[in-house]
Symmetry: C2
Subunit: 207 residues, 2 copies
């Protein structure tokens, strides 16, 4: 690999690992450089500031999250409503994996930075907002597929998808606060219930 590309990659990976394991503010540029095995001068060659690295790291984290969670979970190969279950299974597996390695449930990397930084850094807030909107779009497509397939009655797709992403973030917050990934398993049952409404009752639950 080209050395410049490699240096940049290592800085991005260090940011992903360290911010997710601890927090943005708890990890300084010095530690990021040491973790990446990069000199401080090189850091500022690639990133004007820690904020710029963070925004690039969020883009990278979203690429990874899509590949590891959102694409496989929301695959057209799965019956639409099964995709939600698969998504929660993958959340659970990733948080279990992290806990096995570090002893701690790190939670959602996007939700973490949203709550730590939204009032302090407008550019980071906007970036996380954009990513959560992309998550919402995955859920919207699933809901439309479920309606088309007759798995679900008509409902307000945009509103329901937002509620579901809010619920996912809330569940990850509870799992992190309890330091217990089993919370994700337990609370997953709330998710399909968000589909049961005067507007649209899940066909399966009725039968």
């Amino acid at each position: 690999m080209n050395q410049a590309v490699d240096t940049k990659e290592r800085l991005l990976n260090s940011a992903l690992d360290l911010f997710h394991a601890r927090s943005y503010a708890n990890v300084g540029v010095q530690e990021l450089c040491e973790h990446a095995g990069v000199k401080k001068g090189s850091f500022y060659h690639f990133f004007p500031s820690k904020r710029d690295l963070t925004i690039a790291a969020l883009d990278r984290q979203w690429e990874i999250a899509k590949r590891m969670v959102w694409e496989p979970a929301f695959s057209k190969q799965l019956p639409a409503l099964k995709r939600l279950e698969r998504c929660f299974d993958l959340f659970y597996e990733h948080q279990c994996g992290a806990k096995a390695k570090t002893g701690q449930v790190p939670g959602c990397p996007f939700g973490n930075l949203a709550l730590e930084l939204s009032t302090q850094d407008e550019a980071i807030r906007r970036k996380v907002d954009e990513i959560l909107r992309e998550c919402t779009r995955y859920v919207e497509r699933m809901l439309r597929d479920a309606i088309t397939a007759g798995e679900l009655s008509e409902l307000d797709v945009a509103a329901t998808a937002e509620e579901m992403v809010a619920y996912m973030e809330g569940v990850m917050l509870m799992a992190k606060t309890r330091n217990d990934p089993k919370v994700i398993r337990k609370l997953r049952h709330g998710l399909p219930r968000l589909l049961q409404t005067e507007r649209g009752v899940m066909a399966k639950a009725r039968s």
Copy 2:
């Protein structure tokens, strides 16, 4: 007021204001002392560390949250299921008030510290966990009252209450990430739907 009590109070109030507006790590002991008009020596007279101040501030924040939100919202004077609506109204009002003052939606002070600090500070994580369990107990009592009053069919009270608190935290996270308190208004409609299930369908929605 006794001067020692006053000094301690001012430090607690500064911690509440500054942590909620920004974050734990972004506010140092020096700034807390300046904001409170207290000398650094006095800080360490009352609190061995910033962490100890934070734990005391969380207890204080919970006292305030109970007085301002949880007690009035979950008052026995209100029909049980109305209490949820009232709770969301109060969340909305408080976040609107903060946004009018500072331009920013600060979100839930407990959720914020949970996501910033749970992997870094076990004592703070346990304290926030304890507070979220107390929130869950308010919702449990409301659900039991709703069942007794015939507003709700039998359901798993403990599990549903946890789902509801997770949802509340998720909604506050979305509102902060959007920097828009109206998100709370919009997503509140998801909450009663968590009550509609094979186990227990909300009587009102049926009629």
